[in-house]
């Protein structure tokens, strides 16, 4: 499967011809045993129409801010190395800024994965790809890998064998935070193990490209780490790249994977994601409080999921989603 195919919205096999990500059938999980829907067909269709109308108002909203943030943020991140090395910027400050950039950088990358910055075939699609490529360098995770895995997550959300993010499942927030780190251990069968297995199963050109890019980026990054460290800048690398990367990966895993999908029991369109109230607010939780809207309509940019959620709230409630948190 080409990673760019169906990048805008839901998996192609669930899409109708409108291309809005609306499923042909109702995999909502709101079915009684035996597949009898709780809602009447007419009512479901009416809700779906309303849902689509709301989504259409937000899909394709301008997303140039992500490009500006990514390119300026990446330039700043690169500049932090020489600035910290010569002492022009205190190491603690470089560490804080780098951590923010590495963490926040994933949000524009996520938009690029869904072609929300520019659609495939459009004049500025190259910018969409540039944002994606640049923004995950601090995480030492190539865009090709991040995109293939993220789209697989959308296609098979909460499937223990096919959702690449499933190893993030944990019974509580604290255990989820610890698990984000345990899952990064070299051979514990966590996230990377899952990624490799799924890539091998996919076997597509995009999957092979993702694997190749990951090897190259990791080797380049380690080469840079080792040469800089032995060149007398070990603490600079540790505090401007290594530690921020680990903090960012845990933060991203927690807020983009664990929190919106906990407890990962339902696979249906209206059950695989939950609205939740973050104690850090919507901005610091990277916009994930309204992740349910993103899974329903990935073409809605993250900054528009909040208004879209409140417009859809009654419809989502009618669909059986617990909207009491927000």
């Amino acid at each position: 499967m080409d990673a760019s195919a169906g990048a805008f919205v839901s998996p192609p096999d669930l899409r109708d011809h409108s291309g809005t990500g609306t499923p042909r059938h109702d995999p909502s999980g709101r079915s009684k045993p035996g597949g009898v829907s709780i809602l009447a067909t007419e009512e479901r269709q009416r809700l779906l129409r309303m849902e689509r109308e709301i989504a259409a108002r937000h899909i394709g909203a301008p997303a140039w801010g992500y490009t500006a943030f990514t390119l300026s943020g990446f330039a700043l991140w690169v500049a932090l190395f020489p600035l910290a090395a010569v002492g022009a910027v205190p190491l603690w400050l470089a560490f804080v800024v780098s951590t923010i950039l590495a963490t926040g950088g994933y949000v524009p990358c996520h938009e690029a994965m869904h072609c929300n910055i520019a659609r495939k075939g459009s004049r500025f699609y190259w910018l969409n790809e540039l944002v994606g490529q640049v923004s995950t360098i601090p995480l030492i995770c190539p865009y090709s890998m991040a995109r293939v895995m993220h789209l697989e997550h959308h296609y098979h959300c909460n499937d223990p064998m096919r959702d690449p993010d499933y190893p993030d499942a944990a019974p509580s927030a604290w255990r989820a935070i610890v698990k984000t780190w345990l899952n990064r251990q070299p051979r514990n069968g966590g996230a990377m193990h899952n990624y490799k297995r799924i890539l091998a199963e996919l076997g597509t050109p995009a999957a092979k490209r993702a694997e190749r890019d990951t090897v190259i980026l990791q080797l380049l990054a380690m080469g840079f780490f080792f040469s800089m460290a032995w060149g007398g800048y070990a603490l600079v690398i540790a505090l401007v790249w290594w530690l921020p990367r680990h903090i960012a990966l845990s933060y991203i895993r927690f807020y983009l994977s664990w929190a919106p999908h906990h407890p990962r029991q339902e696979k249906g369109r209206y059950g695989n994601t939950r609205p939740f109230k973050s104690s850090l607010g919507n901005l610091l939780s990277l916009g994930m409080q309204y992740h349910v809207v993103h899974h329903l309509y990935p073409g809605i940019p993250i900054h528009r999921t909040r208004p879209a959620y409140y417009e859809m709230r009654d419809i989502l409630a009618a669909r059986g989603i617990d909207v009491s948190a927000l």
């Binding site: 345990l182 251990q185 070299p186 460290a229 032995w230 070990a234 603490l235 690398i237 540790a238």
Partner: protein, 84 residues
């Protein structure tokens, strides 16, 4: 003796090279925790010790101690598959 067309020979050579490369990469990534221990943890340890003004024990230099510490920890992580 049958002659093998040049294109097939080239393809076979490329496939053999790819296998060798894959094996080499597997070894490198398997040993990456150890390489990380001596390539990164060692100098970080030495710089940290210098920063806080701690001397290395057993008459070792700071980088010598860093290599010992990072190398052992990296070797442990390589064998066990976990830094813990």
């Amino acid at each position: 003796m049958l002659s093998v067309p040049a294109t097939q020979q080239r393809q076979a050579r490329q496939e053999a090279d790819a296998i060798v490369m894959q094996q080499a990469l597997k070894v490198i990534f398997f040993a990456m925790p150890f390489l990380f221990g001596i390539g990164f943890i060692a100098p970080v340890t030495a710089e940290l010790m210098a920063l806080v003004g701690v001397e290395a024990p057993l008459g070792l230099s700071r980088i010598g101690f860093g290599l010992l510490f990072g190398g052992l920890w990296g070797a442990y992580a390589t064998i066990k598959g976990s830094w813990l």
